[in-house]
Amino acid sequence: MSRLYVARNPRVAARSLDGEMMIMSGRDSTLFTLNKTATILWQSADGATPLDEIVEHRICQEFEVEPAEALHDAETLARELASHDIIQISEEPIPQPSPGAGEAR
């Protein structure tokens, strides 16, 4: 079974305020507010860590949830975020540009 990699889109603007992550699409200025799971996914989406590891080490640690169910939900969430160009998803590791642009402040 192939693994899924996720990476933040450096072309979106992101800010965390009082634990609330907000993201604005640079493409069409749409504003998204991420829930806790989506925030963890966004913060962990470094292009190098496979999604199943993010789920195991971050999401399952935070929430009491079965790993298989959590991975299924995380994949659905990742594909939804990707459909809005907030993250990129790939079955291969995703090279990242130099730190800075678009990172959460």
């Binding site: 979106v12 305020l17 907000m22 640079g26 493409r27 200025s29 678009g102």
Partner: protein, 271 residues
């Protein structure tokens, strides 16, 4: 043989909104009259305008007049398009050109767009918001159409100077922000005063059964401000600038919800 062509005398005026002088050149005296009437109180005499537009007054520019506004940039040149105007502006040369019919609304839209582009690079913005000065400080009252911007402007007592009942002009200055008067009006149909004052607070308007001010969480403040900003450009860099500017603003300026009964007692809470 008689001269068949005559040199057309260029006519111009300077429209200074937010302290940014914009020179408008035209060859149409009737259009100049329209502008002088529309921007009375905001006409300047700056020798060196920061932006200069040549306006070609022409027949309708677009066969489909209802298309939305498109603002794009290519190689340092902005293109502004809508059903009733076509415009270009090159910040490096400070110069631009507008093609429109002889009406005040098209150039009004162009000016709003250009000011949003200028302000976005400086940490400021235009917002759907009424604004006013009281006791040397300015206050913003933001909300969508129907939230009460015009109502609260109408209710202002005599010691309040109205800056606008519709679109506020906010510049970042030193450690704070300054609100300027604008000629952009809403239902009040009255131009704001061309003055400015340091910004003391942003109120998000809501109408209710009692006058009260409630704090709101920073995240909601940022989200609400972003929802009320005017921004048109399809430009990722500027979108990011505007986004971060909104967060910086809410970290420096108190943002609260102002619930009000539509009568003048609400102003007892302001200033």
């Amino acid at each position: 043989m008689p001269e068949l062509t005559a040199e057309v005398e260029p006519l111009s005026l300077v429209i200074a909104i937010g302290g940014v002088p914009v020179r408008v050149n035209t060859t149409d005296p009737a259009f100049l009259d329209i502008l002088q009437d529309r921007y009375a109180g905001f006409l300047g005499s700056a020798e060196r305008a920061e932006i200069e537009f040549d306006v070609d007054v022409s027949p309708p520019v677009n066969p489909v007049p209802h298309i939305g506004v498109r603002v794009t940039q290519r190689r340092g040149r902005w293109s502004l398009q809508a059903g009733d105007f076509l415009a270009e502006w090159e910040p490096a040369s400070r110069a631009g050109r507008i093609r429109q019919t002889a009406n005040p609304y098209s150039i009004d839209a162009v000016l709003r767009i250009v000011h949003t582009l200028v302000l976005a690079q400086q940490g400021g913005f235009l917002a759907h918001s009424a604004s006013a000065i009281r006791n040397g400080k300015s206050f913003l009252f933001a909300g969508v159409s129907g939230a009460g911007k015009t109502t609260i402007s109408r209710l202002a007592p005599p010691d309040v100077t109205l800056l606008t009942d519709e679109i506020s002009y906010v510049r970042k200055q030193d450690a704070g922000y300054v609100a300027y008067g604008t000629p952009f009006t809403g239902e009040l149909a009255k131009l704001g005063e061309n003055v400015s004052a340091p910004l003391a607070a942003l109120y998000l308007l809501a109408q209710g059964s009692a006058n009260r001010i409630d704090p709101i969480p920073p995240g909601e403040a940022a989200r609400s401000l972003l929802a009320n900003l005017l921004f048109f450009a399809e430009d990722e860099e500027l979108v990011q600038s505007m986004f971060h500017s909104a967060f910086e603003f809410v970290s420096r300026v108190p943002v609260s919800r102002l619930t009000f009964v539509p009568d003048s007692r609400v102003w007892e809470l302001i200033g």
